[in-house]
């Protein structure tokens, strides 16, 4: 899922300075799972804002609403009436959702309440780690299910580098070197042959921003070539 974490309170407060009727919008999907922007987090942040404004005798009002997702228009449309009464929106969705919200309501200023970080997994309670860089040309078949673009800090296609020490990464001594993991896994599976010749340089065209994916069944509708 997409992992994000709530921005520092001071930063959020600064963005909202001067607005009188703020609507905090949460998202019930990825950011809810990583405890950054779901209904509960919206509640906590709204309380903090109200209390903080109370301490300063700031009369601004804070309203809250959490949508199923902010990356689908059908959910964003549900906000239409509530948005009318506010002069700013603070979104706790991931960067995609925040932008889609901004596109849905071009007449209102929209601010981010989280920093979106990566595509990752729940390593343990309260701990999320990155797994995927969305490079558009997945090579997990070659590297035994372990991504060198993401788990190797240098993103090497032919590792490990000389900085690897005792099986750990040069950059983070707590972390096992991705290429050591790839080697050991492929060795166990009898597939070392896959990495015995040089892997070619990455073709970054599959990562040209902003990306588009059109499902094959819809190519004609959007007059698109295949991606």
């Amino acid at each position: 899922m997409i992992v994000a974490s709530r921005k520092p309170f001071e930063e959020i407060k600064k963005s909202l300075a001067g607005y009188q009727n703020i609507l905090v919008v949460g998202c019930g999907t990825c950011v809810a799972v990583c405890l950054a922007g779901g209904k509960k987090e919206v509640g906590l942040l709204t309380s903090q804002l109200r209390m903080s404004y109370g301490l300063e005798k700031n009369p601004a009002t804070i309203a809250e609403e959490t949508l199923e997702r902010q990356c689908d228009r059908e959910f964003l449309d549900m906000l239409r009436d509530r948005v009318k009464d506010c002069d700013a929106l603070l979104s706790l969705a991931c960067g995609a959702g925040i932008q889609f919200l901004a596109e849905a309501y071009p007449e209102k200023p929209v601010y981010p309440g989280v920093n979106t970080t990566f595509i990752g997994v729940a390593e343990a309670a309260g701990l999320w780690t990155e797994r995927c860089r969305a490079c558009g040309e997945c090579l997990l078949a070659v590297t035994g299910g372990i991504c060198p673009r993401t788990k190797c800090t240098k993103g090497l296609n032919n590792g490990p580098c000389g900085g690897m020490a005792e099986g750990k990464c040069e950059v983070d001594q707590e972390r096992t070197c991705a290429w050591v993991m790839i080697y050991e896994r492929l060795a166990r599976e009898g597939r070392l042959g896959q990495i015995e010749s040089m892997l070619s340089p990455v073709d970054y065209r599959s990562q040209t921003r902003p990306g588009t994916v059109t499902h094959r069944a819809y190519l004609r509708r959007y007059h698109a070539g295949s991606k």
């Binding site: 001071e10 209390m51 109370g54």
Partner: protein
């Protein structure tokens, strides 16, 4: 608890205003101790500025 205290600190409220005690239902002395402690704290920190919000 630590996290909630941090949330209070972020908005400028003293984290000591909030505390959690584990007290058995029949443990009157522990209860009295906790109440006394928090009353003292409230006295020294002064009234909650958000009392009337």
């Amino acid at each position: 608890m630590e996290y909630t205290k941090e949330l209070l600190q972020e908005i400028g409220l003293e984290p000591e205003r909030l505390e959690m005690f584990h007290i058995g239902a029949s443990d009157a002395p522990a209860w009295a101790k906790a109440v006394t402690l928090m009353t003292e704290r409230a006295r020294s920190l002064g009234p909650n500025p958000l009392k009337n919000v």
